[in-house]
């Protein structure tokens, strides 16, 4: 075997396998309000919920780390270039614990919001919870030290709660006569 082949063949193998490995690890897309993404299976993950969360384009500096959607609900993990890795999570669940939370003005029309603040400094730690019929959506924040909590406000504004009936209508109009 020539030196070139000694180097080339394993290189191809390694690059190929890394590519394959990256493909395997590729996260699900987040639920997108513009359509597509994982919106439908997110809705299926909490079949009792009358509202389903979706995300508008994220603020600068935020990106999706991973999305997990299964029969128990959905979790979107988000990284921030300032607040750190896994600084925010959007959780869609059947039940949310609001024992330690207080009612706050809601940015989602007709949906009560609760907040539980763990700490403001050295890094913001807190939750914002929306409770609705058949389910709830919870923001979990855990920022790196010395990062302003206002980053959370920017991020929260990108959440929309879509009525399940609206998603079902869209399915009937564009796909088949069935619903979630």
């Amino acid at each position: 075997m020539t030196t070139n082949r000694v180097l080339l063949i394993p290189l191809i193998v390694v690059v190929g396998l890394i590519g394959v490995a990256c493909s395997i690890e590729q996260a699900l897309p987040p639920p997108l309000c513009v359509g597509g993404g994982s919106e439908l299976i997110v809705a299926q993950s909490v079949p009792t919920a009358k509202l389903v969360p979706c995300l508008e384009p994220l603020p600068n500096g935020w990106e999706v780390d991973s999305v997990r959607v299964d029969q128990n609900g959905s979790v979107v993990r988000l990284d921030s270039d300032r607040a750190g890795t896994d600084a925010a999570r959007l959780v869609f669940d059947r039940h949310c614990d609001i024992t330690d939370a207080v009612l706050v003005p809601s940015d989602q029309s007709g949906v009560p919001a609760y907040e539980a603040i763990g700490r403001i400094q050295p890094g913001f730690l807190g939750e914002r919870i929306y409770i609705f019929d058949g389910g709830c959506v919870r923001w979990e924040f855990d920022f790196d030290p010395d990062v302003s909590a206002t980053l959370a406000i920017d991020l929260q504004a990108r959440l929309t709660l879509v009525p399940r009936s609206e998603i079902n209508r869209s399915i009937r109009e564009t796909f088949i006569d069935e619903e979630l």
């Binding site: 075997m1 193998v13 396998l17 394959v20 490995a21 590729q26 994982s38 299976i41 299926q44 997990r68």
Partner: protein, 550 residues
């Protein structure tokens, strides 16, 4: 076939070879594998179509719900818990258990290639199903209540794909072709069908999710195994010796018979393996012929080529610059080299086996090297080593030195004695214009072989008649455990007389020849191999969960 041979002979009786006929054993992809591949390609086309158009997705979903709907609508209280349990086990424990059992079983049976193929198949299937599911973005069945475990998109069903892959790979890794393979296939099919039904019953998969996943799993696994570990080269067998040895019955046996007749004009009446325990690099055969004495043949296939490549890479890493050599790039070249070395050695007057020709069994894949059979010959370790035999053995090495050759694999199994004369066999590793170090090691190994049946003092005394003290000292300065072929090393260890040390004490003092020589190429190659191994291990461990092994 005789008529065919006759027809192709010229009026003078001359026969042109090769005849232009198809090879005795053509390379074929198994029919079942082709059928599964076709089905898989069908799904791939549908997937591609769906990416560009909703029409097929709507059509398929309507059919899927048409099948799944009645099943879901008629769920039975007595059946539902069982189906939910099957769904839970199938999506969590079954594939990891099957996968690790196959890995452990495969490693225990020393089928590293098959184990690596299992991991590769799981990786490829997992990657494919992930990529396809992202592109399809298919939800779980609409209008159906899901009462089981699921994760992510529906098409194709990843748990079904991984379970199918593990089961198919298990059959190809652990069960011999025939009855046991059929039983395994039936059991595996039953498992996949039951699991697939459960997935549809609990409402987490459409029928087409299950079908496409199972098809992908079977097709990709079969393709990988057929290409990288074809059954006729890597047969699964238990209690039949080294895995390097090929089965010479059935189609291959007939092909060898046909090849002998067509290509060498030899009519074989019996073909049987011989001396398998002393050979790991080929399948040695003794062939009886209708019109003459028995002949000897060595069957080489691509697995032997790969062994040669691994062996040489290992030696380059172990010894560096002194063993810096090229491996063979095809089976044809490997066999041609051995045939050439036999001719060179015989012409030089070295005790060898006379080469009779080469036979092409499958072009570029399998060849047969045919030589005379050493009738009545015995391995030197089975004989009394007399002074005459010692002199003759040493004379063979002296002659190798004289004509600029090195055998490089001198061990008891390769020194046969016929009518009191030593014959060096298995010249696959032999080299023209070798380094002096290799020739020195040949001398040391021959002296060790001879001393096993006599005494180091006697061998040393006789060696002085043909070699100088310096040459013998150099031979043992260059020799140590790793330079001894494994059979010789094992016999020296079993002998218990510390033969190497005794020879060194008899010879003049000489600084050991440094065999661990570092060169830039060796450093780079070592670093490269370490990088590859570390990368593969890291990728494997990082993805245990994704490929269904955790």
């Amino acid at each position: 076939m005789t008529d065919l041979v006759a027809e192709r002979q010229s009026p003078q009786g001359r026969r042109r070879r090769p005849s232009g006929e198809p090879p005795p054993l053509p390379h074929e992809l198994n029919r079942a594998a082709i059928a599964w591949l076709v089905a898989f390609v069908g799904f791939a086309v549908i997937w591609a179509w769906i990416v560009f158009s909703d029409a097929p997705a709507i059509w398929i979903t309507e059919r899927d719900l048409g099948i799944a709907g009645p099943i879901v609508d008629n769920r039975k209280d007595w059946l539902t818990p069982t189906m939910q349990r099957i769904n839970r086990l199938g999506t969590s424990w079954v594939t990891p258990i099957i996968g690790w059992c196959i890995i452990i079983g495969g490693l225990a049976a020393r089928r590293i290639r098959h184990v690596l193929l299992l991991i590769a198949a799981l990786t490829v299937v997992a990657a494919l199903s992930t990529v396809v599911s992202m592109e399809m973005s298919r939800p779980r069945p609409l209008g159906v209540t899901q009462i089981g475990h699921w994760e992510g998109f529906a098409q194709p069903s990843q748990p079904v794909a991984l379970m199918t892959t593990a089961l198919v790979a298990g059959g190809l890794t652990l069960t011999p072709l025939g009855r046991w393979r059929r039983i395994w296939a039936l059991a595996a099919a039953a498992m996949v069908v039951v699991f697939g039904l459960a997935q549809v019953y609990v409402g987490v998969d459409h029928p087409s999710d299950v079908l496409s996943a199972a098809t992908s799993g079977v097709a990709i696994t079969l393709l990988l195994y057929r290409v990288a570990a074809p059954e006729r080269i890597f047969p699964i067998a238990y209690g039949t010796g080294k895995t390097a040895h090929l089965d010479v019955t059935g189609a291959r046996g007939e092909a060898i018979t046909l090849g002998l007749r067509e290509q060498l004009g030899i009519v074989a009446t019996d073909i049987r393996p011989v001396g398998l325990e002393g050979s790991a690099g080929s399948t040695p055969l003794r062939i009886s012929q209708r019109d003459g004495p028995d002949i000897f043949a060595k069957l080489y296939a691509r697995n032997h080529l790969r062994s040669d490549r691994s062996y040489k890479l290992g030696r380059t890493l172990l010894y560096g610059r002194l063993e810096d050599e090229q491996h063979f790039t095809s089976v044809r070249r490997l066999v041609q080299h051995e045939d050439y070395m036999l001719h060179v050695m015989c012409r030089a007057g070295i005790g060898c086996t006379e080469p009779l020709g080469l036979i092409e069994i499958t072009p570029e894949r399998e060849y047969l090297l045919v030589t005379e059979f050493l009738t009545g010959a015995k391995e030197i370790s089975e004989m009394e080593v007399t002074v005459e035999l010692i002199d003759a053995g040493l004379a063979e090495v002296a002659r190798l030195w004289e004509v600029g050759l090195a055998h490089r694999d001198i061990k008891p199994a390769n020194v046969m004695v016929q009518n009191g004369k030593p014959r060096l066999i298995d010249v696959a590793f032999a080299q023209v214009r070798p380094s002096p170090w290799r020739q020195a090691v040949d001398l040391a190994n021959m002296m060790l072989v001879l001393a096993l049946g006599s005494s180091p003092e006697l061998v040393y005394e006789r060696a002085l008649l043909q070699f100088s003290e310096d040459e013998i000292a150099e031979a043992f300065a260059a020799s140590r455990g790793v330079t001894l072929p494994s059979q010789l090393r094992a016999q020296v260890r079993r002998d218990g007389r510390a033969l190497l040390d005794q020879f060194r004490s008899l010879a003049p003092d000489r600084k050991p020849v440094a065999i661990q020589r570092w060169s830039l190429r060796r450093v780079g190659l070592t670093a490269w191999v370490a990088l590859i191994v570390a990368s593969l291990l890291s990728i494997f461990l990082d993805n245990l969960s994704d490929i269904g092994l955790l």
